[in-house]
């Protein structure tokens, strides 16, 4: 009798142990699934978040940043676009782009389709290098390969060149590809992590402003939505009193939250640009842009 009870309780114990093991295995499996990057699902969720948060704003219109969030500002922007403040930079960029280097070659020799109408394909993952290559980086590499000194990544000449290249791509949908290469997926995931990681003494992430609070004011500024935020780059900012590149945007965002910015075109910023561009795929290039 006593032996029977013992056997029964042993069976109960064993089945309970099995059940527990099965449960914990299942949990581990789903945790793995949640941590495996799924860029397609991410981009879909990202775009859905913004279109649901701002049901009146058309998907294509998010590229106009704060101007898409507010009717009065939208009117201001339409007026501004008649004499856009980035025009000087655009003209300079066009001139620089067509002027040959000392060795007789030019920017056109460094890019597919002579550099015209290709902005929507940047940044891309370079499988040879195993890293993300941005347009700003490619421009400076082109200069250096032709014996010219690189430009500052933040403004002036770099902004002028990227302004011209963006202009030749206006209206073309952003088309960032993630090749079937684990390093590309890792770069994407690193960019995503950077975007959501809180930093600086103010303990803000990129998402604190550009996901949680777009359309809200931060002092006198209206925060831009993260969706389509890079499509308008480079931008003339009245606050800067001049043009700024994507590098300038990233570094100043960091210092504004009291974080020491990383060096422009560091791996983190390149990956961030990769992530942020990928989730805005399909939205048109609208750069160069103007912002308050």
């Amino acid at each position: 009798m006593g032996g029977e009870v013992n056997v029964r309780s042993a069976i109960h114990l064993a089945s309970a142990a099995l059940l527990l093991a099965a449960l914990s295995f299942g949990a581990a499996q789903s945790a793995v699934a949640a941590d495996t990057p799924d860029p397609v699902a991410d981009a879909k969720a990202f775009q859905k978040y913004f279109t649901e948060k701002f049901p009146k704003v058309k998907l294509q219109d998010f590229v106009n940043g704060p101007y898409s969030m507010n009717e009065d500002m939208h009117r201001q922007w339409e007026e501004k676009e008649q004499f856009p403040p980035y025009d000087f930079s655009l003209d300079l960029g066009k001139e620089m782009f067509s002027k040959p280097f000392k060795n007789g070659k030019s920017y056109a020799d460094c890019f597919p389709n002579q550099g015209i109408g290709i902005r929507q394909n940047y940044p891309y993952f370079d499988e040879k290098e195993g890293k993300v290559v941005t347009l700003e980086l490619a421009l400076n590499r082109c200069r250096e390969a032709n014996g010219e000194a690189p430009f500052s990544y933040l403004k002036d000449e770099m902004a002028a060149l990227t302004a011209y290249m963006a202009f030749t791509s206006r209206g073309k949908p952003l088309d960032i590809k993630i090749p079937n290469d684990p390093r590309a997926l890792e770069a994407y995931q690193n960019g995503k992590r950077y975007f959501y990681t809180r930093r600086g003494q103010l303990n803000f992430s990129c998402a604190s402003c550009h996901v949680q609070s777009p359309g809200e004011r931060i002092r006198a500024e209206v925060l831009a939505p993260a969706l389509g935020i890079l499509n308008a780059m480079p931008i003339y900012r009245s606050e800067w009193g001049g043009m700024g590149t994507i590098s300038r945007r990233f570094t100043t965002c960091n210092s504004q939250i009291r974080g020491v910015p990383l060096e422009p075109q560091s791996d983190e910023y390149r990956d961030l640009e990769y992530y942020l561009s990928y989730v805005s795929n399909g939205l048109p290039i609208s750069g160069p842009g103007a912002r308050p």
């Binding site: 959501y196 809180r198 974080g259």
Partner: protein
């Protein structure tokens, strides 16, 4: 009566605490030496270096370190030590932030 006694008891405790504070004050007010500054500054710099390895330095840490150096150059070692300690606390906070964000960032993600 007992209430009064309690209050008196509390007062004497306060007086005692105040006396102790005053007694302790001179040692707190004792001037810091250059050696104190160097120790405090080295500790702050080490913490800030660790924050740099985590790619998460704060501008305020750099500002406090600069203030410490400036005060030390002017011979004000009390201020130099205070600023160094502030820099160390800020650097340690930035390390804590970077460490906790290794997992915490996922909570903000749009899914």
């Amino acid at each position: 009566m007992s209430a009064i006694r309690k209050i008196t008891g509390m007062n004497s405790a306060l007086v005692l605490a105040a006396a102790l504070l005053i007694a302790g004050a001179p040692s707190a007010l004792a001037a810091s030496s250059e050696a104190d500054f160097k120790t405090a500054y080295a500790a702050a710099e080490a913490a800030n270096k660790e924050a740099a390895s985590l790619r998460n330095q704060w501008t305020t840490t750099a500002a406090a370190l600069a203030a410490a150096k400036k005060a030390a150059d002017a011979g004000d070692f009390d201020q130099a030590v205070a600023s160094s300690k502030e820099a160390e606390a800020l650097a340690k906070a930035s390390i804590y932030q970077a460490t906790s964000e290794k997992e915490a960032w996922k909570a903000l993600e749009i899914r």
